[in-house]
Subunit: 404 residues, 2 copies
């Protein structure tokens, strides 16, 4: 049995026209393959449902919240199947509990544990296309769970991995670009990219694929690509293992995020266990800390410690840290929320020197001050004043010759 | 364990204010009882979903259609539970497959076969209120099914019957009235009514309760009552077994329906099997025939046969019968769609003469011609010209002294 797993996001099923357009893509694939299409809710629908819950509680209980917000995907799957059947394609929508897609127990940010492929294979005896809701599953208590924003990408990859099939993510852009095309006019579509680079790009603010979906594809070696549902004949971007076929650019792309904030704790006692005293209460408060930077003072007794976090968690984090002040033992706490993060990403960095040098020179020439630098094998991230974001991305895109 | 089953219709959960108002009724009952509340979708939501399906097919495949239109009840249950939890009432929404509520296999007009009470009792170990979606269940193939319009009443009675609890239907009127209060200003609320009378009233066009829910309550001897969700302290109408406590009115109520049409076949050969030739193709076409009337001609060879049906099935029925003309062997087919049906209902008819006489006299005095009459033990139904409907109901209401 030849299989394909396709995923259509909210805008690709957001109207009658969009559903019919996406149906024609499914229809085309179904001529040669059995197709699973994983769908998001119609664009705006999940927000509508979330807003409904907020009418009744600022802090809805997670079990009922997941019940409420998981319905949008079932509706889009049913509508797609109704249309496909009307044009004589044998298809069927399946709810996540009918398959089932098993997840971890927690609500609102659950993780997929297993997709039962037997049910899918059984249904393919009578159907050529199966429509499966993204973003959700059931846990060990037989309760509906949701995966968090963008979870439908992960659903699609998980289904593809379980079936050992290729996963094609259809979206409203033509693929993964060297940087945000809204910011840099001559940003170029990347035809092939490695899982690792895609992972860094995704987690550094490129919104084409959800980070967890790339992680999963990398772990399961699932063939993954991104294509446009509006121009389905355009070749898109293939995410694959690093190999000789990859264009050997030193830098593959530039990502940025304006949703950053920074906290600095001054004169923290530099002794074992102190960072745990800082970061465990934040983790308990569900705050994801990103970059961490620590400098020890000259006398070796104290350290200054900075870290970044999502901007809308800043108030909460400050509150937690002020409460813990005596336990942690710092002198001063400072924060800023007018910063942004820029990341330069490329597997070629491993073998090419001078990537950091180009970054420093380019920003220096443009009088942009770098507040924090962190590096990994395939990424350099910097924090700068938010107002220089666009300029920095444009100048770096040119400096690394990504438009060529 | 003391239990109550409450049912709230679309308008009783149709807005933030309505949900909070209905929540206060649930909250009050939950002080003394474990409560199951069966909810409809927010008013307008099921229509919105039906209209969405119609965008993609005039005749959607039933399996996916049921998947699409069943989501509204889950959302209202989740929202209600979010609110109840926020005011510290331990509650939980359950989807029909989690209980499960088992139905027959067919879609769009399924019947409830069994409600698994074990799951409900188990959930009451941790919760005081359970929110259960009306209008739906799952069939033996683990597929979502829906019960047809107004099915939530039946869901509530089925849950109550399985738990051996009283069922209170909260709606936007104060109870069951002697006739439509919009038509007759001094229509009176009926405080007690027998199952049989309620059944006739419901099936004859009084829209307070779905017919099937009354049938089920009668069969299971479930205590059933109707109350206002806006004036919850008003006593409403209790539907109960016929007994001495019932007010012994000869006539309990007058129902009417303007959605009627009539077909007459002239000079049908009067021989065995001919009515099956007429009515089986109609049944196959899913057309519910109501009143049937047959007069044999003087020579005994031919008959004239009339029957009534829902007005929006008229075109379809005519098409079917014209196609079957040679098989049936009739001479002429006539139809009219400007007729209405009026039914006078009351268990007292069994023992009281003169009910029909009052009817004939009243209509005669008002120059309203009766086209068709049928009678049962507790009901007299007539067909009249639609334009006399309001006048007839008003005059009959007065003639039977129902306002007193």
């Amino acid at each position: 049995m030849k299989l394909k797993v396709l995923k259509f996001g909210g805008t690709s099923v957001g109207s009658k026209e969009a559903i019919i357009r996406s149906a024609s893509i499914i229809s085309k694939w179904s001529k040669k393959y059995k197709v699973v299409a994983v769908l998001s809710a119609m664009s705006g629908e999940t927000d509508r449902l979330i807003n409904l819950t907020k009418l009744f509680s600022k802090n809805p209980n997670p079990y009922d919240y997941d019940n409420a917000i998981s319905s949008g995907e079932n509706v889009s799957c049913s509508l797609m199947s109704i249309y496909l059947n009307s044009i004589k394609i044998k298809s069927k929508s399946l709810m996540s509990w009918q398959i089932p897609i098993f997840t971890s127990d927690e609500h609102m940010k659950s993780r997929i544990l297993k997709v039962d492929k037997n049910k899918i294979f059984k249904e393919f005896n009578n159907s050529d296309v199966l429509l499966i809701p993204g973003f959700q599953g059931i846990n060990s208590k037989n309760e509906i769970t949701t995966l968090g924003r963008g979870g439908s990408d992960t659903s699609a990859v998980a289904v593809a991995a379980s079936l050992d099939a290729e996963c094609i993510i259809y979206t409203d852009v033509e693929g993964v670009f060297t940087t945000d095309p809204n910011l840099v006019k001559n940003a170029k579509k990347i035809s092939q990219i490695s899982y690792e680079e895609m992972l860094e790009l995704a987690s550094q603010g490129a919104k084409v694929l959800q980070t967890r979906s790339v992680e999963l594809a990398m772990r399961k070696k699932t063939k993954l690509s991104v294509r446009s549902s509006i121009k389905p004949n355009s070749s898109g971007t293939v995410v694959t293992e690093e190999n000789s076929k990859l264009e050997n650019n030193t830098v593959s792309g530039i990502a940025y995020s304006k949703d950053e904030a920074k906290i600095t704790l001054s004169r923290v006692l530099d002794k074992p266990g102190v960072s745990s005293k800082i970061f465990s209460p934040l983790a308990k408060g569900n705050i994801n800390v990103d970059m961490i930077l620590q400098n020890v003072s000259q006398d070796g007794k104290y350290a200054n410690l900075s870290f970044t976090l999502p901007r809308n968690d800043l108030e909460k984090a400050l509150k937690i840290l002020k409460k813990e002040k005596s336990k942690i033992g710092y002198k001063r706490i400072n924060s800023s929320n007018n910063i942004s993060k820029i990341s330069v990403i490329g597997v070629g960095m491993r073998s090419h020197a001078g990537v950091a040098q180009t970054l420093f020179e380019t920003l220096g020439k443009n009088k942009i001050n770098i507040q924090v630098i962190t590096t990994s094998e395939i990424k350099i991230s910097i924090l700068i004043d938010e107002k220089f974001t666009d300029l920095a991305v444009q100048k770096l895109h040119k400096a690394y010759k990504l438009h060529i």
